[in-house]
Amino acid sequence: MSRELSVVGKRLPRVDAVEKATGIANFTGDIKLPNLLVGKVLRSPYPHAKIVKIDTSKAKDLPGVETVITLQDIVPRKAFLGSYGELPIIAYGAQPHLADQYILTNKARFVGDPIAAVAATSESVAREALGLIEVQYEKLPAVYDVEEAIKPDAPKIHDHCDNNIAMHWISPLSKGDVERGFKEADCIVEETFRTTKQVHCHIEPAAAIASFDVLGRLIVWSQCQQPHPARRQLAYLLDLPVGKVRVITPFVGGSFGGRNGLNPELIAVALAKVVSRPVKVEYTKEEDFHAVNNRSAFVYTAKLGFKKDGRLTAIRIKALVNSGAYLCRTTTATSVFMGNCLEGAYRCPNKLGEANIVYTNLTPSGSCRGMGNPEAMWGIEQLVDIAAEKLGIDAVELRLKNLKEIGEPSYVGLPIESLALRDCIKLGAEKIGWSEKRVKKSKETKRRGIGVAIMTHNCGAQPILVAHSGAYIKLNEDGSINLIAHPDEAGTGMWGTSAQIAAEELGINIEDVHITYGDTDTTMFDIGSIASGKSYIFGNAVKGAAREVKRQLLERAAKMLGTSPYDLDIKDRRIYVKVAPKKAISIAEVAHDAIYDLNMEGIDIAGTCSYQGTTASPPNQAVFAEVEIDLEIGRVNILRLVIANDCGIMINPMTVEGQLEGGAAMGIGYCLYENPIISKETGKLITDSFETYKIPSVLDMPEVEIIPVEEPDPIGPYGNKGVGESASVAMAPAIANGVYDAIGVRVTELPITPEKVIAALEAKQKRKPEQSNTR
């Protein structure tokens, strides 16, 4: 790009920041409508139970209660409710007949499974009504571990599958001959890894409002990250034509994948269909923990084979995936997991990936930041370190040796368009002081170490899932534009990013971009905020729409200036003749002239663009963590984090940094603090509040040093690639590798708690008592 950029690349404040700083930004819970009812959900207190009888009569008779519903009061359609429909499932071989969830269940399969719902005139009446619903349960034995759930005598959770195996899947990325690959290997490493059902913990609780208007159209205020697909899912579940459903998106208090599917919306629409008033459903924070789908959990054995020069010869993965009580989005997570295990950053000729997706009586597993990649890198990146030690090759060198190059296939099958991972690794290693700090060690009770982990991801879900977004720009007579689209502002900064792209393309200022958004009635189809693809796919849609507006502008201006459009360009809100810049006209003048034309040549200059992702521009990252372990209490303290990040050219560096810092926090929580604990007696998630389930507070964050490696991508708008999920992928293995470097013990089960560190140290001491004071 030869032209100097005036808006893109600048650290501009986000366009929605002032509204949020003053408290006037409307989130779903802030919206007030006339005649609004409060909806509340009766949830199963048992992990597994038949529902013998439900008596709602007492609840219905309570003054202030408008309705009480159960499954028999709604259209009994099954769906993958945590997903936007069957599409992501079919892509991985599952069939629509595996759709397994009703809006309200007729059999309780996890603590929190929705059984009935109430709409009442106030919060307190609704709560009281819930207490009056009489449910007769027949308790059944429950199972929570995947290894237990697949045993022949395990309780059967769904009628349609044996041994609770929802799907057995061999990854289509399997290729070559792994047996031969392992025979050829000089060094084989194998280990079993376990990850957790991390909870998203978006601060804003799940909430939705549903209302039918006088024409029978359904309007839903939804936090869903994918409003257009959500519309289709809601239409299907209520047996309505899609065109009769309208989804409006207010500001959303964080998503991280937790709002990928539908949850409170389902209750709200089911209630709204029965009463003739709008219904608002707001979850308590406790409901957020129990009822909102969380991260899929994996138990997997990974085996890698290397030649003695460090080249990978074989990869084999065998995984059990904890889907919780319903299939939700586990199949997508499994495929991303497998994709990054087998076909991630490294080149390998022989690979085999096998997964069993298993039902358990836990909260259903959905999407969570990274979508299977953090789970994959937890194991793969630790195994690479184990191999490096066995081979006697430096851990950074071993990674560099096996990196793919541009043009090789990414895990989605498309060739990689841009790749700066090598630079990320080298620059990160230099910054953390890799060579100096890997040799040492002290013999004190506080020991330091450094670890590395790398990652690659996808940017958009093409070609596996639907991956296109649309944008519509219209020009106002004052030279400003309305960008009518779905940037989905849940904190990712897409409002600002898209405004910067539009402003750059049109030679206007960011204040000239008015974002009109969040309504499926006015915006073109947009797949939504998934797969780190928004800035890339939607960004290109915005750029395309702006380019069309520019074309029309120059055409009109050319007539007004008596020249050809090819002689013109736009800068600083002025359209000027390239060779004689003083001959110019303002955008506002042209826009006004077009609209208020009296020569029968009136036009509202506008442009649309529907952009389909067709290429793979994966973001990449190398993370280096310097840790200090207190041997006496087993606590891991992160001293420094160096994140070398390749996301192409940054549209807004401040926004990118924010995503990386936030993603780092989420990765640190996943690694060290966030420990979802299920009671084996009750099947309940005991850690169901911020007090017991610890997400990092400001005191838990180390110094974060970001090295942006800006190598332009040929396809992304202005050379940009995605970044939303990157930072939470490699954090955990980098820390785990640092722990091993410090104290010679490896924790393979998340999270790395002080108890596990102490236990590992004690086990190590038992094995080699004479070396207890050395590494």
């Binding site: 650290r11 404040p13 986000r14 929605d16 920041a17 002032v18 509204e19 949020k20 700083a21 003053t22 408290g23 006037i24 930004a25 409307n26 989130f27 819970g29 802030d30 007030k32 998203h200 913990c201 978006h202 601060i203 804003e204 609780p205 500001f251 959303v252 208090g253 964080g254 991280f256 707001e282 308590t284 924070k285 502002e489 849940a490 904190g491 990712t492 900064g493 401040m654 926004t655 940094e657 924010g658 990386l660 810092e661 936030g662 993603g663 780092a664 926090a665 989420m666 509040s689 911020f690 007090e691 997400i695 990092p696 507070s697 400001v698 005191l699 964050m701 974060v704």
Partner: protein, 162 residues
């Protein structure tokens, strides 16, 4: 429950309301007065999103009975800016990229205000300790700390509005 009349002074304005004595200050602000800038994040005092200032003290409004707010001066996020002019803390949050989803922001800003009103020369550690009761899932806190320190600088230089 028998409703009662209660008087409040919120953001410099007087209100006389008829309320149930068991409602929280958070419910009073959001439901009775439509001041929805203060957020319900957890309702049990663990996330800090509901933080307002009661007699200049950062207070979890979800754990505070509304009636105990009588005869006290209450400041919410809506009372911080003057018309279109942002308070230095708000401006710093905007300029330093300290806001992502924005849900924890009002609580963070009010807590920061309480800190800077008492101590306009905080160290980084002091800022961290002051904000340790406000959870954020988006930002990793890095730019929030930067913003509070920058706001302190602005206030020291006399950009203070009050």
């Amino acid at each position: 429950m028998q409703k009662q009349t209660a008087k409040f002074l919120i953001n410099g304005k007087s209100y006389e309301l008829v309320i149930e004595p068991n409602i929280t200050l958070l419910e009073l602000l959001r439901e009775e007065l439509g001041l929805t800038g203060t957020k319900y994040g957890c309702g049990i005092g663990q996330c800090g999103s509901c933080t307002v200032l009661v007699d200049c003290k950062p207070t979890l409004s979800c754990l505070t009975l509304a009636v105990t707010g009588q005869n006290r001066s209450i400041l919410t996020i809506e009372g911080l800016s003057e018309g279109n002019i942002l308070h230095p803390i708000q401006k710093a949050f905007v300029d330093h990229g300290a806001i992502q989803c924005g849900f924890c922001t009002p609580g963070m800003i009010m807590t920061a205000k309480a800190l800077l009103d008492k101590n306009y020369l905080p160290t980084k550690e002091e800022v961290k300790v002051a904000l340790s009761g406000n959870l954020c899932r988006c930002t990793g806190y890095v730019k929030i700390i930067d913003a509070v320190l920058a706001a302190a600088e602005m206030i020291r230089k006399g950009d203070k509005l009050e």
